[in-house]
């Protein structure tokens, strides 16, 4: 088989890459509601899914969309929805349901500017905290932040894998700029992909406990129709899946669910650390901002400054350990974000004691390499 047959170089828009990756990852159900700047994902899915025997449906709203996705996933089909800020807000309750009931699903949030309806066609990174804390109660969620079209492709596939593997909702936060960016992507051959399916229950029906706490943080899922006849609920439940408010039963279950990502850091964590070993000025950036930061850090180094870049790809759970070691030598940490300051608080917490500088932009424009470079220069000058 020729190399070209294995990997196909394609010029793809970020949103299209996301859709293609989802299909490649085994997604066979998409439900969504049109919203700028994510709509191309739905459009592409509408074309792709029927060809692979999947189902595309445009629902009446975003709530219905995530509901349908969860329904499909309960049915055993990998499912996804895509939206943008306002729609993402609407999905939060059901995302919480997916967390509590441990239903795999992938939600793409192509972030756009501003609170409320904001700037639908302009970029921002305003949803990063919503992705972590958007739902009520304690949440457990994975958020991935690709910085390129190629990474949209790979992280979308990874999103499905993680979701299936850990039975958590996985949010892929895409900057509007990348979503609408057309880049060349090396699309791997399907057979070369590592695709992970959730564990299916195969133990005897009589004794099966859908939420067993037995050391394995991720219990196998019962497939409807296979005879398990289990109950799925958003209420706190015992190992049998039925509602309970007994603290003796609730505590270990919450501990398992809320702690399972922490215990699977090896699977979850993903970051990029550039020139961090000796970095005195550490830039922590993600998404499109990281691309600007990468150039800024390179320019700073070229100018003799000991600058480094830490780029979380898995934003949530936050790669604390990795950042802490990346920031070991840092005297200052700079957090440029296309928001009024969100991830900086998490960085400040992790890098406690190290001064944190912020570079924020909420005017619908991207942060440029020059801005970051300038800030690095300024920080260096102040030392």
């Amino acid at each position: 088989m020729s190399a070209s047959a294995q990997t196909q170089m394609r010029n793809l828009q970020g949103n299209h890459a996301c859709a293609l990756a989802a299909v490649a990852a085994g997604c066979r159900f998409y439900a969504g509601y049109p919203i700028t700047p994510s709509s191309e994902i739905a459009e592409r899915m509408a074309g792709e899914l029927p060809q692979v025997g999947g189902v595309f449906i445009q629902m009446e709203d975003e709530i219905a969309s995530i509901g349908a996705v969860l329904g499909a996933s309960i049915g055993g089909v990998k499912a996804m929805t895509a939206t943008s800020g306002p729609g993402f807000s609407l999905k939060q309750e059901n995302l919480g349901y997916a967390m509590g009931a441990e239903i795999p699903c992938v939600v793409i949030d192509v972030m756009r500017g501003g609170p409320s309806t904001g700037m639908p066609t302009r970029p921002s990174q305003g949803d990063v905290m919503q992705a972590r804390w958007g739902s009520h109660g304690d949440t457990v969620v994975i958020a991935l932040v690709p910085d390129s079209v190629a990474e949209i492709y790979s992280q979308t596939i990874r999103a499905f894998n993680l979701s299936e593997q850990l039975r958590v909702p996985v949010v892929v936060l895409i900057d509007e700029i990348i979503g609408h960016l057309v880049e060349t992507v090396a699309v791997p051959a399907p057979e070369s992909l590592t695709l992970i399916d959730r564990k299916w229950a195969d133990s005897p029906v009589d004794t099966f406990k859908p939420y067993a706490i037995n050391g394995d943080d991720v219990p196998p899922m019962p497939r409807p129709g296979a005879g398990y006849r289990t109950h799925t609920t958003g209420l706190t439940h015992g190992e049998d899946g039925f509602p309970t408010q007994d603290p003796v039963l609730v505590a270990p279950m919450m501990d398992r669910i809320l702690g399972k990502l922490e215990r699977h850091r090896d699977l979850v964590d993903c970051f990029e650390a550039i020139d961090c070993e000796d970095a005195e000025i550490l830039v922590v950036a993600y998404g499109i901002t990281a691309r600007a930061a990468r150039r800024a850090v390179r320019r700073a180094r070229e100018q003799g400054l000991r600058a480094g870049l830490f780029r979380p790809v898995t934003l949530w759970p936050f790669p604390e350990q990795a950042l802490r070691s990346a920031a070991a030598s840092a005297k200052t940490v700079l957090v440029p974000e296309m928001n009024a300051g969100q991830l900086c608080w998490e960085v400040e917490r992790v890098c406690a004691g190290t001064p944190i500088a912020r570079l924020n932009r909420v005017d619908g424009e991207v942060i440029t390499p020059q801005q970051i470079e300038q800030q690095i220069m300024d920080l260096a000058a102040h030392e």
């Binding site: 189902v55 219905a64 329904g71 059901n94 129709g225 006849r229 799925t232 039925f242």
Partner: protein, 283 residues
């Protein structure tokens, strides 16, 4: 109407008996409705392995858990959305939604009308007790006028939804209503709904005795369930006596039926046809 005898229906074969007694209040009509549903499923020979019950939030939402099948107790107002995904993903499953008047018509109203419009092969069972029982008795879209609830302390002045008219207008291809008192009729209506290819909507007049009944002085459980008769007055009973004897005018039985393409089948056939054309055209 079915005249099949009942004797081979053993409801406990269909229940998660270890969860009993259930949590519903004395006299709550939901249990009766659930029995009729299971009876209909039994008569149709639908395997509990192939059934999925999707329910929302509220007293109605809690009923599904008592059935020994694939049960999903989802978010408030969203069971139809979940069921839509489930049915589309798994056409092999018989998907039934159990919802309440608030769940279905208020918070879930949008989902209802679109589910009706699509005509996906779902059966939606709306248990109408005219009140938000689980939250302590607030007004719902079906609360009759002048009824007292905790949020209508002076009596309800809001216009009321006729759920069946709503569903029919939205395009549900089978719409029916029945009262719990008429269990066999309710069973037969469920049978019709379950057998129907397309979206079927069944409104069950179910009594909330402990909260709504008490607040409105509607009598004890027996009186309330007997009064259901007063609430239904199919047109055919009109002028039977020289003056109407029932204050209500709820029709019962199958109220609307149309044969439209079922969403899922239509989707697959439509796509297969288009893809075939595309491939042909490509050649």
């Amino acid at each position: 109407m079915s005249s099949a005898e009942h004797s081979d229906f053993e409801i406990r074969d269909y229940l998660r008996t270890d969860l009993f007694p259930h949590f519903m209040c004395p006299g709550c009509g939901h249990g009766i409705a659930l029995r009729a549903l299971l009876w209909a499923l039994h008569e149709l020979g639908i395997s509990m392995d192939k059934l999925a019950l999707v329910s929302g939030i509220g007293c109605s939402g809690r009923t599904a858990a008592y059935v020994d099948t694939n049960t999903m107790h989802v978010t408030h107002g969203r069971p139809l959305a979940f069921a839509t995904g489930l049915k589309l993903a798994r056409p092999d499953l018989e998907v039934v939604v159990i919802t309440g008047d608030g769940d279905c018509l208020a918070i879930g109203g949008n989902h209802l009308i679109h589910a009706c419009r699509r005509n996906l092969d779902l059966t939606c069972v709306m248990l109408n007790n005219e009140v938000y029982g689980m939250t302590g008795g607030q007004v719902s879209p079906t609360t009759s006028n002048d009824r007292f609830t905790t949020t209508t302390p002076l009596g309800n002045h809001e216009p009321v939804f006729d759920a069946c008219e709503l569903a029919a207008a939205a395009g549900a291809s089978l719409v029916g209503r029945e009262i719990t008192l008429q269990t066999p009729s309710l069973k037969d209506l469920f049978r019709a709904a379950l057998s129907h290819r397309g979206f079927s909507f069944v409104e069950v007049i179910s009594d909330c005795t402990e909260i709504f009944g008490r607040k409105n002085d509607l009598g004890n459980s027996t009186e309330m369930i007997l009064k259901q008769k007063s609430a239904i007055r199919p047109e055919s009973y009109g002028n039977v006596v020289d003056q109407p004897f029932r204050p209500g005018n709820w029709s019962t039985g199958i109220l609307a039926r149309n044969e439209r393409p079922e969403y899922g089948t239509n989707y697959r056939e439509h796509i297969a046809a288009k893809l075939a054309v595309a491939v042909k055209g490509h050649r």
